[in-house]
Amino acid sequence: MLKLARGIGIAAALLVSSSAIAQEVEVMHWWTSPGEAAAVNVMKEQLEKKGIKWVDAPIAGGGGQAAMTALRARVVAGDPPTAAMVLGYDIKDWAELNLLGDISDAARQDGWDANYPDAYKFFGEYNGKWVATPFDVHSTNWLWLNKAAFDGLGVAEPTDWDSFIAMLQAAKDKGLIPLAHGGQSWQDAVLLGNVTIATGGIEFYRKAILQQDKQALGSETMRKVLERVLQLKDFMDSNAPGRDWNLATAMVIKGEALTQTMGDWAKGEFVAAGKKAGDDYMCLRFPGTQGVVSFVADSFVVFNVSKADKAAQIEFVRTLMSPEFQEPWSVLKGAVPANLKANDALLDACGKKAFAEYKEAAASGNLVGAIQLFSAPAAIRSAVEDVVSRLLSGDLNVDGALAGVVASADAAQ
């Protein structure tokens, strides 16, 4: 009996010590392209320096859909990873199910409340507890231009709708494809978001897109937004439907098209093609949205883990949220750091501009969630995407689309 007890004691001691040594985090994500994989490596290296083993669980494909499906399966099976890449309103959906761990301790230790703007806290917290780590800033209200093509037009940089249209028209007259666009519903939505801010201003965007206020959604302003989206269709080539975003970016890089409106992950394509910001390509804010930053933030949610694994999990999120990690990460990912205390020394010209604008927008309250993932729960968001896609594919006219966006507000019920 005594022997047995001693045996158990030793076994328990062994268990405790082994778990103390084998600190590891298993992280599920869908960063599998070469540029993204290089960025993930930064994460891995920084953690390994702290003695935490990185167990990679990448799931390629489908813009994260495949990864989300796999994550669901693992969570239902009772075997969640330490953390998983979950973005935007999906964080709230997961938190609502009481599955996420609490990392408020890390937040207190490192002062996240002071270092991150409120718009970010909104996606990191649930019921007053930190459950996720929105750690970088991608913004979607950008216009990427081929500099040579732009210079050839002899027009000034567009700053409002009229000069934007004039620029596109000039390109069309020269036989260029003015606007490279990929006709997939999320890209259509990026377009809608930018035109909404440019047309109605940030307060209107908040009301219509973030709060789904029916009055705003049915207003004349919204009609104008939809008309303008349709107006842009005249400047796209007819092969746009179904095109992937990076192929549209390639058209701008090659000079077949003048410009693309897309999140700054498009910059990664320019960099990969060996192009230089300012010399070969230009980054302008979508005309009419200067001063506003509509963001998409990469983030991980953390799951409830055993006490032994908690320490590694906390260390992992502290790393993610630190400027030391975010600075090199952002360079490789084409984003900018979300930590307001970060330094912009490593960033390129477009990155420095983006980081400065992010800080300004954070201070002035002009920082809003992008329509893609960060505007509303999935049900509502995809209902809006459906409408704008059908508008652009010619299935709906402006009246039909206007009725459609008003109805989309009910999609969640």
């Binding site: 199910l97 006709g183 519903s185 092969n239 049900a379 459906d386 896609s389 059908r390 594919s393």
Partner: protein
């Protein structure tokens, strides 16, 4: 042909064991049952168990993950109120009828042509059958490139100097569903052909000769005598193709991604979207139950007819 041969063999074996005595037969039955057990258990759990689970979910308001907050028929009501679902159903109707219809007609025609004992049959057969070896994903991707106006057919024609040539169905939301039909037909016609060819080859040559003696020739011979004898082949082809239509997912995803807009969504893509990307698992489950019922409506009468046929044959013996 081989299938029929082996079924004859099985019957012979069965008859032999009948003579050998009931003890051996009982043993054989026991072994057969034991061997069937694992697959029986696994299909009970993984097929019927999950069908039941989906049925349960369709009566809940599950969103991101399964939850068990029952809301009655709400998900079904929501489902039938969704424009996307109606689009998907209309597309299914268009796609299903054209795909099955053209496959059957074309498959039968090619099979009849090959059945003329032409030279080089061994070359033609694999050529027509070859697309079957590809998955729908590959078919979809290849046709997406081929049909893309800026990349495939239209551009080649323009390069060849025929600059008026226009074929842009894949980017036209009213025509895109027909491109799915084209790709699907290309893939499956060979299969229909093989089925019909097997059917044609199993037609009793004596009957054909007798009909020829009575003066039936060429088209009449096929129309009046041979094709009506292929009734069971028709039924098999029809059932297989129809249930494939209802389940179609990969072809649409790889060919058009459901677009432009959502003009080529089918019920299966709708189900995946709502269950896994739009966090509306309840609605997604409801749609898969509706699809199950649709498949059942096709398969069950077929199975019933098959079983009845077999029983009648058994009685005759």
């Amino acid at each position: 042909m081989t299938i029929q041969l082996s079924s004859v063999n099985i019957r012979r074996v069965g008859a032999a064991s009948g003579r050998a005595g009931s003890l051996v037969r009982r043993h054989e039955r026991l072994i057969a049952r034991l061997l069937l057990m694992p697959s029986l258990i696994s299909s009970t759990i993984f097929v019927y168990g999950f069908i039941a689970f989906t049925l349960v979910l369709s009566f809940t308001d599950s969103k991101l993950l399964p939850t068990f907050n029952f809301v009655g028929w709400d998900s079904y009501a929501k489902l039938w109120g969704l424009n996307n679902w109606h689009v998907a159903l209309q597309n299914l109707l268009v796609f299903g009828s054209l795909y099955v219809g053209i496959c059957v007609a074309l498959g039968l025609l090619i099979a009849i042509l090959i059945d003329q004992n032409i030279k080089g049959e061994n070359i033609f057969r694999p050529i027509f059958l070859y697309p079957m070896a590809l998955s729908f994903i590959v078919t979809g991707t290849a046709w997406r490139w081929f049909l893309n106006p800026g990349l495939g057919l239209e551009r080649s024609m323009h390069n060849l100097g025929w600059t008026d040539f226009k074929f842009d169905w894949i980017v036209d939301s009213h025509m895109a569903i027909y491109t799915v039909v084209i790709a699907g037909v290309w893939q499956s016609t060979g299969f229909c052909m093989a089925m019909f060819l097997a059917g044609l080859r199993s037609v009793d040559r004596e009957i054909v000769k007798a009909a020829a003696v009575d003066g039936a020739r060429g088209i009449t011979l096929y129309r009046r005598i041979i094709v009506p004898m292929l009734r069971s082949t028709f039924l098999s082809v029809f059932v297989i193709q129809t249930h494939l239509t209802i389940k179609s997912y990969d072809l649409v995803v790889s060919l058009t991604g459901g677009g432009p807009g959502n003009s080529t969504d089918l019920p299966a893509t709708f189900m995946y979207d709502y269950t896994f990307t739009r966090n509306q698992m309840g609605v997604g489950s409801a749609s898969s139950i509706v699809m199950l019922l649709a498949v059942a409506a096709v398969i069950v009468p077929y199975l019933w007819a098959e079983l009845r046929d077999r029983r009648e044959k058994g009685d005759a013996k």
